[in-house]
């Protein structure tokens, strides 16, 4: 991976960014992810400000509130923050060549990420049982202001975020397995850094909307 300037075939390249290709590629990819989430979050903001009535948190569903459990959501966000710190600790460990801590922190990250996905699925199932769907049945539509839009934006944004976390967890498992096989060294640990960038990016979007 330390081949920012030496390419395959021993070709020297103009140094450019002075970061290796995979890392630069990940940053470029993340730039495009920002635009993808902009379209979803932008749609939310515009729909949200375009209407007077919007479901409020902390009030029961039938009285025009949202059925979302803020406590659970906050706890989930907290887990993502924790997984961010374990991720960066794993990276810091392998920078020192510390295999033991690399494995420990990577495993912790996988665990936290997987729990996040698990809790989100449980939360979804609870919401669906309550009748809170992306498109609202008629009985709810009569009670909850803009139930349609609220449900649609909620599920779309959290769903795509969850999908990104899930993909992150899958990649992280792969990286962890490789770490347990001794695939990363003090000199060569690009994979840990690149997956870390993706992971932190996904965490950034871990905040939810009231």
């Amino acid at each position: 991976m330390n081949e920012a300037t030496i390419l395959s075939g021993g070709v020297r390249a103009e140094p450019g960014m002075r970061v290796y290709n995979q890392k630069l590629g990940m940053w470029v990819f993340l730039a495009s992810e920002v635009m993808f989430f902009t379209s979803l979050i932008g749609a939310y903001i515009i729909l949200r400000f375009g209407t007077d009535a919007w479901a409020l948190p902390g009030i029961p569903l039938e009285e025009g509130g949202t059925p979302l459990a803020i406590n659970l959501t906050a706890f989930n966000t907290f887990m993502l923050i924790c997984s961010s710190v374990t991720m960066v600790k794993a990276f810091a460990a392998i920078q020192q060549g510390d295999q033991k801590n690399l494995r420990l922190f990577l495993s912790l990250t996988v665990l936290l990420g997987a729990s996040f996905v698990g809790i989100q699925i449980v939360e979804y199932m609870a919401l669906v049982r309550e009748g809170f769907l992306p498109h609202c049945g008629e009985h709810l539509a009569a009670l909850v202001p803009n139930c349609h839009l609220f449900g649609s934006t909620f599920y779309t944004m959290t769903g795509f975020h969850g999908a990104h976390v899930s993909i992150g967890v899958l990649c992280m498992i792969w990286v962890t397995v490789k770490a347990f096989r001794g695939g990363y060294t003090k000199e060569d640990h690009g994979g840990v850094e690149v997956i870390g960038l993706y992971w932190h990016f996904v965490d950034r979007w871990g905040w939810r909307w009231g």
């Binding site: 960014m17 730039a31 920002v34 906050a74 924790c82 961010s84 600790k89």
Partner: protein, 97 residues
């Protein structure tokens, strides 16, 4: 090679990852508290919450993603889409102003 020099330059001022974690956790707690207990008007609340979220995202990008220790051109590349995102959202919001 480039990466190693990158890291060495960052070595001296490696951030305290746990401290940043604490700040992030506190900010999240503040968000929840505001959502529950503050009597702020809705619009103000949303702006405050967005502000806190941006603060958190900036912390993560600067320290956990090491953007603070990267070269300027990578920082430019990483932040390039943000103005576009802001333009899109602000302009479309004007529809309802």
């Amino acid at each position: 090679m480039a990466m190693e020099t990158d890291m060495e330059s960052a070595e001296g001022k490696k951030p305290n990852y746990y401290f940043i974690w604490l700040v992030l956790a506190v900010l999240t707690a503040v968000e929840v508290a505001l959502a529950y207990f503050s009597g702020m008007p809705r619009a103000v609340l949303i702006i405050v919450l967005v502000g806190l979220a941006v603060w958190k995202a900036t912390l993560v990008a600067m320290y956990y993603m090491h953007l603070k220790f990267e070269r300027l051109r990578l920082i430019v590349l990483a932040t390039a889409p943000l103005p576009l995102a802001v333009i899109l959202i602000l302009v479309v919001l004007l529809e309802y102003a």
